[in-house]
């Protein structure tokens, strides 16, 4: 028999049973079947124990209450029915808490996610620590699910429909101050006062003197108080959700359904309906894709070469532009000492001033305290020389995309630094081996390809060459993870992986424009497909000149395969249309806050004039998306990619490939290799060889194999 006190320990203090949750051997607590079973037995014994006046539930972890449900539980079940049943089991145990005959108080410190939040909602009284690590959320929607343990039922009942919907629909955090204000928390205390406050609260509840105050505003109460205006609230929420998700994320709509059902049919039926909807969502391809993405990201946090990592304390970033400053910012934030170098001290200081402003806005939003801002800034040193670069552990260059320039920088840096300094290039397309050609220490050279804006974009693509040393790769990986990035490692080649699959996608957009498509239609159609940003807006973000440079680097490769390439990016860049950076690209960017960009109709003169024609959405979507998907398969075939999983992570996190589709490879698995292959062949016969399916894809189509088991 299993030791019953495996996860839970119980102490008695002043008549209150203090139940401490502590998953042995893990950093965080998770809701597992084992815990549910143990919890149930514990509830029985505490309820019967006459010495126990009340219960206080706490976590034994440093900065975690409960990280959520163990997603492994979902994996073990296949059908919607089985998963709905799992939700019902959860409901039973939480109802047990809700109906517990004695006061049941919970004290939350650290992150409290998903099922943890739902458990807290079932308790009679919630105390929250005011620590910065304390965050409460129902992030199920991000996995294409709904909170299936009463979250859609109890949160609206506690804090109101209008206050709860944003949390349910976005999965965003409730911080302690907000928790106090919106009524989630009955009390907020400092972390070391949680136990004492919990014991007092349990005693107060046992004495029957507690009445919770409704913290909704008068307007909220009025609107939520009757069926007619409630219907309005839900209609409005559906409208907004649909506008944002374009119908690609069914979970959000089902969350609204679930909340509304309760208000129409009551709590008992509402709970049963929540389980049913949970089961439906859990087997949806969208949720499967998002859960896999989550696993992929979690997996990528583990450095496979951890034992080869060498310590990095100092990082030099060469080039203090948008990219360089961004890399410096995320590095200093993690405690690295950073030297931000540019050709002149002024430029370097300007880059730092930009970081200063970003941090200042964090201070204004109370995400960062002023002293921590100063400390981060003080870790960033500006310079215009390579003096003392022998002391730098990692040099990341983010200068202009010019092979000769980069080579000369390698020489200069390696003249100052020894064989213990890593040289990383943040090039977006130049092959790393070419940058490393003629270098003194080619084994120390690696690609670290960040995405702009670095502070927000979650991907780091690391490019290794045959000469890159293991410790160099391991260390770069480690730095990337510390900077908060999801890291993929790819082999060297023109454009590596992400730029390589982006280039034909962008090329196809240009060809469509040449054929007469309108910017508006391209944008809206691809957003409908699920890209967060339209391809043309992305072009402007990346920079049309950069796009032109990329097609120059990759053009030969594509033309060799008989692909038609557009020369429009170079023409536009030549004419001074650079994109967002100079306010003039496919869009015009009026200066001033709140002013929106608008399509720059002047560029149509490069694409056959102002008169545009309509394409079917299917044509645009298949041409654009399959271009990217097929190129991704080619990257795997040519062993640029080491795995399909890396390919999916890279496309979603770096390029905005629709997450609910799971990435190019999961998309092929979902559609079937044969069907993707024949769609490509159709396009090939109509538009030429650039659509010729990759051999690997053809093989898979005939063998019926998939990329994932």
């Amino acid at each position: 028999m299993k030791n019953r006190s495996n996860i839970l320990t119980i102490d008695q203090e002043q008549g209150i049973a203090i139940v401490t949750l502590n998953n042995p051997g893990e950093k965080v607590n998770k809701l597992s079947e084992e815990l549910i079973e143990e919890f149930s037995v514990t509830c029985d014994s505490l309820e019967q124990d006459p010495r126990v006046e009340g219960v206080l539930l706490m976590s034994g972890k440093e900065e975690n209450f409960i990280a959520g449900a163990d997603i492994g539980m979902f994996k073990a079940r296949e059908t919607a029915h089985e998963l709905a049943e799992l939700s019902r089991v959860g409901h039973q145990i939480l109802l047990r808490v809700e109906h517990f005959a004695k006061p049941f108080v919970v004290a939350i410190h650290g992150s409290c996610m998903g099922g943890g939040t739902e458990l807290a909602l079932a308790c009679h009284y919630r105390i929250v620590s005011d620590h910065p690590s304390t965050k409460i959320a129902l992030p199920e929607v991000k996995l294409g699910l709904l909170p299936g343990m009463g979250g859609t039922q109890r949160l609206p009942a506690l804090i109101g429909i209008q206050k709860s919907l944003p949390y349910l629909l976005t999965g965003r955090n409730i911080y302690p101050r907000q928790a106090k204000r919106n009524g989630f928390a009955d009390e907020v205390v400092h972390r070391h006062g949680l136990k004492e406050a919990g014991i007092r609260a349990a005693k107060k509840l046992a004495g029957g003197t507690f009445v919770r105050k409704d913290r909704r505003s008068l307007a909220e109460k009025a609107l939520e108080g009757n069926p007619a205006t409630r219907a309005l609230i839900f209609a409005q929420a559906r409208k907004q959700t649909l506008a944002q998700t374009k119908g690609n994320y069914p979970a959000a709509m089902k969350i609204i359904d679930s909340v509304e059902y309760r208000y129409k049919h009551g709590f008992v039926k509402g709970m049963d309906n929540e389980s049913k909807l949970f089961g439906e969502l859990a087997v949806s391809p969208e949720s499967r894709a998002l859960v896999q993405l989550f696993f992929g990201m979690t997996h990528a946090k583990n450095n496979p070469m951890e034992n080869r990592v060498r310590p990095v304390e100092t990082i030099a970033v060469l080039g203090a532009g948008l990219m360089g400053a961004g890399i410096a910012e995320v590095s200093a934030e993690q405690g690295y000492r950073v030297w931000l170098k540019d050709q002149t001290a002024d430029r370097a200081l300007k880059g730092k001033a930009q970081i200063d402003e970003n941090l200042l806005s964090k201070v204004e939003k109370r995400i960062l305290n002023p002293m921590d801002r100063d400390r981060q800034l003080s870790r960033i040193h500006t310079t215009d020389s390579y003096d003392g670069f022998g002391r730098i552990d990692l040099v990341i260059e983010a200068v202009f995309e010019d092979l000769e320039l980069k080579r000369s920088i390698v020489k200069e840096v390696q003249r100052e630094s020894g064989s213990s300094t890593i040289f990383a290039s943040n090039t977006s397309s130049l092959p790393i081996s070419e940058i490393a050609a003629g270098a003194r220490y080619p084994g120390n050279i690696i690609g670290m390809h960040y995405f702009s804006p670095v502070q927000k974009m979650p991907l780091l693509e690391i490019i290794k060459t045959p000469k890159t040393k293991q410790w160099v790769l391991a260390t770069a990986y480690d730095v990337g993870v510390k900077q908060g990035k999801t890291v993929i490692v790819v082999n060297d080649g023109p454009g590596f992986y992400t730029t390589r699959i982006l280039a034909p996608f962008m090329n196809e957009a240009l060809l469509l424009l040449e054929e007469g498509a309108s910017v508006e239609q391209l944008e809206s159609t691809m957003k409908q497909f699920g890209f967060p940003v339209g391809p043309i807006a992305l072009f402007d973000e990346v920079g049309i000149d950069v796009g032109a440079h990329v097609s120059e680097v990759l053009g030969a490769l594509f033309r060799e395969r008989g692909a038609k390439t557009s020369s429009k990016a170079a023409e536009l860049a030549e004419a001074g249309y650079l994109g967002r950076k100079n306010g003039k690209g496919f869009y015009l960017y009026p200066s001033g806050k709140g002013k929106k960009k608008k399509v720059n109709r002047a560029i149509y003169s490069y694409f056959g004039g102002e008169k545009r024609k309509k394409f079917t959405p299917e044509e645009i979507q298949s041409r654009m998306a399959l271009m990217m998907v097929n190129e991704a398969v080619l990257c795997l075939q040519e062993e640029i990619l080491l795995s399909a999983g890396d390919g999916d992570l890279g496309a979603i996190l770096g390029l905005g490939f629709p997450p609910f589709l799971g990435g190019p490879f999961r998309y092929i698995d979902r559609e079937g290799a044969a069907s993707v292959c024949s769609a490509l062949e159709k396009l090939q016969s109509k538009h030429g060889d650039r659509f010729r399916p990759a051999e690997m894809l053809q093989e898979m189509a005939s063998s019926g194999k998939a990329f994932y088991d």
Binding site: T314, L349, D356, D374, R375, H381, R391
Partner: protein, 434 residues
């Protein structure tokens, strides 16, 4: 086991930096002393690329203190990127505060207590604390005891409108009530520093500072500071008047003693904002960390006299004391860096050192200390032209002296400074590899 006994260690000056020194109410007027101080420390770490963990204590000077950062050393060190576990002490000794910061570091290193320290100082004279008068402050504090709204009625009892006028701190000697300018003016008369000599000395200071800046000699010690969200970058001092002339200086009216005084706005140092910081380490620790130190601190002394006419004569007392102690003579010194509070004070000190009468009366010795060769003194300007942010000046003097030792391939540098309260300081550096 035997108890470990320490022998004295050698302290070296690794390097020093300063922010530009700016006239008050110019580009640094938005800065607090904390902010400018932290920039100096961060700038030092940036220049030296020193691992902050090497710093085991911070001493930082500050004279005009902000009550919110009363131990400004601690706040500036934290904000400047030094580890949270490094202790920090604020030092206040008027114009020689950062000299005291530096020698405190040297002492601790010599005794083997620590092997690395930051010494520095900051003054933001654009941001002097202006208080309510005592009577009004008292009233405000009484309100803490008020319980009910009607108690506020007594607040206005006994207050006159003049109580609401702010109290602006003056730069006068607490013990004598005299401003420093007045004292200096009297001192100049006593030691025979004429108005012409003072103006000529001031002109020399401005011209030499302008020349040094022109030649880029300050680039090594000045760290650029970005202001107004990076819209402007300040990389040089703004108090140096390269275009000054004897005629212009002669046309200025006496500022303190009218009508016959000799100290004017043109031959006195001006209100300045600035900060400085230096890395001081134990010799072996510095070498082990891969540094090439600039100088070794050979010795220092502090002196004081009851404040009076000789208020700013400290250097004339400290220099002979230190030279004797180290068995050095003026002839062996190649680099002189003296703090220029006033041209009148400088001329007085130089005259006194070169005076047998002064030697007999004040130093109790039969022969004069000697003439300081003007060609070796403050050859890159001084406080009169570069500016004088009280607590930041000491590290500026030492940094410039160390850089001059290297540039001039010289061996010994003598640093001296006067301070309010009738105090003074002198220090000898030796070039590291001399």
């Amino acid at each position: 086991m035997m108890m470990k006994r320490n022998t004295l260690k050698e302290a070296v000056f690794v390097d020093g930096v300063r922010t530009p020194f700016l006239r008050s109410q110019t580009d640094f007027k938005e800065f607090s002393a904390y902010n400018l101080g932290r920039l100096a420390i961060a700038g030092l770490l940036s220049r030296t690329k020193a691992d902050p963990a090497l710093v085991e204590h911070t001493w930082f000077g500050n004279v005009i203190q902000d009550i919110n950062t009363s131990n400004i050393a601690r706040e500036a060190a934290l904000g400047g990127g030094l580890p949270g576990h490094t202790p920090a002490t604020t030092v206040s000794m008027a114009c020689i505060s950062s000299n005291m910061a530096l020698t405190s570091a040297v002492n601790a290193i010599s005794l083997g207590q620590i092997s690395g320290a930051v010494a520095g100082g900051v003054e933001v004279m654009s941001d002097i604390p202006i208080r309510f008068r005592k009577s009004f402050r008292q009233k405000l504090l009484e309100t803490q005891r008020y319980r009910k709204p009607s108690d506020w009625l007594q607040f206005f009892r006994g207050i006159s409108p003049s109580d609401l006028l702010p109290e602006i701190p003056s730069i006068s000697e607490f013990s004598t009530g005299e401003t420093m300018g007045q004292s200096c003016d009297k001192m100049a008369s006593k030691y025979g520093a004429s108005r012409q000599e003072q103006d000529a000395y001031a002109l020399r200071s401005h011209q030499l500072a302008a020349k040094a800046a022109e030649e880029g000699l300050f680039d090594r010690e000045v760290i650029p500071v970005s202001v107004n969200g990076g819209s402007a970058i300040i990389a040089s001092d703004n108090g140096v008047r390269a275009d000054s002339s004897l005629e212009k200086l002669a046309s200025l009216k006496p500022a303190f003693i009218r009508p016959h005084g000799t100290v004017t706005a043109g031959n006195a140092s001006f209100l300045t904002d600035g900060a400085s910081a230096a890395l001081i380490m134990e010799r072996e620790a510095a070498l082990e960390a891969g540094f090439k130190p600039k100088a070794i601190v050979r010795g220092f002394t502090y002196v004081a006299r009851t404040p009076g006419v000789d208020l700013l004569m400290g250097p004339a007392l400290a220099v002979p004391l230190l030279l004797d102690r180290l068995r050095l003579t003026l002839k062996e010194i190649d680099v002189f860096e003296f703090h220029e509070a006033f041209a009148g004070q400088m001329v007085s000190v130089l005259n006194a050192l070169d005076s047998r009468e002064f030697a007999k009366k004040e130093l109790n010795r039969p022969i004069k200390v000697g003439e300081i060769p003007i060609g070796k003194l403050n050859t890159r300007g001084g406080s009169l032209s570069i500016g004088h942010p009280f607590a930041a000046t000491g590290i500026r003097l030492v940094t410039t002296a160390a850089n001059r030792l290297l540039d001039e391939n010289a061996r010994y540098a003598l640093i001296a400074a006067c301070a309010a309260g009738g105090q003074g300081h002198a220090m000898i550096l030796e070039r590291f590899d001399a």
